[in-house]
Amino acid sequence: MAERSNEEWLASLRGPQRDEALADLRMLLLRGLRAALSKQGKVSDQDLEDFAQDALLRITAALDSFRGEAQFTTWAYRIAIHTALGELRRRRWRDVSLENLSTATDPDFVPNTVADPSAGPEQRALQRSVLDTLQHAVQEDLTEKQRQALIAVRVQGMPIAEVARRMDTNPNALYKLLHDARQRLQRALQDRGLPREEVLAAFGLSAGVRPAKVDTSMARKADDEQAESRTD
């Protein structure tokens, strides 16, 4: 397969060599999707073919929006991955309704204690104060929709796009709903005069500067636990 620059990809996909370029791109997408989905269960060769074909349609329809800030192939892989993982999430969560998850008025959503025997008395007191504040703010400051979305995403681990579909909205709007909810909870902690750095330290979280790389270990662990609890 010929190596192409970004400009060559765009020109060939729009020009007389379109069929050859489409065939090359399709092959690249198949290889990329095979690598990207290697850890996902239940993905057949037919699925890969379907995802690649669907992605190819989306990519060719979106050529005008390619801004050239990355390699064309990276941009194309990103669209293919979004297409494939979106469909796999839909399948995984197909049989789960929000009604099954909606115990949004549960006052124990944020328990007022955490089991952490290593914490000293001062840390435990601060933890208790933070959790009391959050518990109260979740009940008093959040809307019913915010609580429902928070539980579906945070406790059940449901992807934002799947929660959005069930709440008749879109992922961007749902992210905004959750963002507003976090801001309300943040304001409640600020109003209580709980210093950010000390709170982070009390929960064993690193204070100050963010890590240089995306630290997904804690998030992944939580997601894994959510997945396990769903299968219990």
Partner: protein, 78 residues
């Protein structure tokens, strides 16, 4: 019972404290994801160059999953 476990509580506390007023949406994050991944793989400080993408990836498990998959693909196929 919709109850957070201790690990989920820690994550909620961290995410609430790290909430910014100017966060970007999923679509905006995905638009910048290819550049973010290429910066990472070039050994540059992607989170400083694109802090709002970093922030979004910490908050959104779906976008994070797509970021990790894209990183895998580019690493394996380049």
């Amino acid at each position: 019972m919709s109850r957070l476990n201790p690990e989920q509580i820690k994550r909620l506390v961290r995410d609430v404290l790290n909430t910014r007023p100017d966060e970007i949406s999923c679509d905006e994050c995905l638009e910048l994801l290819d550049r973010f991944v290429e910066l990472e793989l070039a050994g540059e400080d992607a989170s400083s160059a694109l802090p709002l993408v970093q922030q979004h990836l910490e908050q959104c498990s779906s976008c994070r999953e797509e970021f990790e998959a894209l990183l895998t693909v580019i690493t394996e196929l380049r």
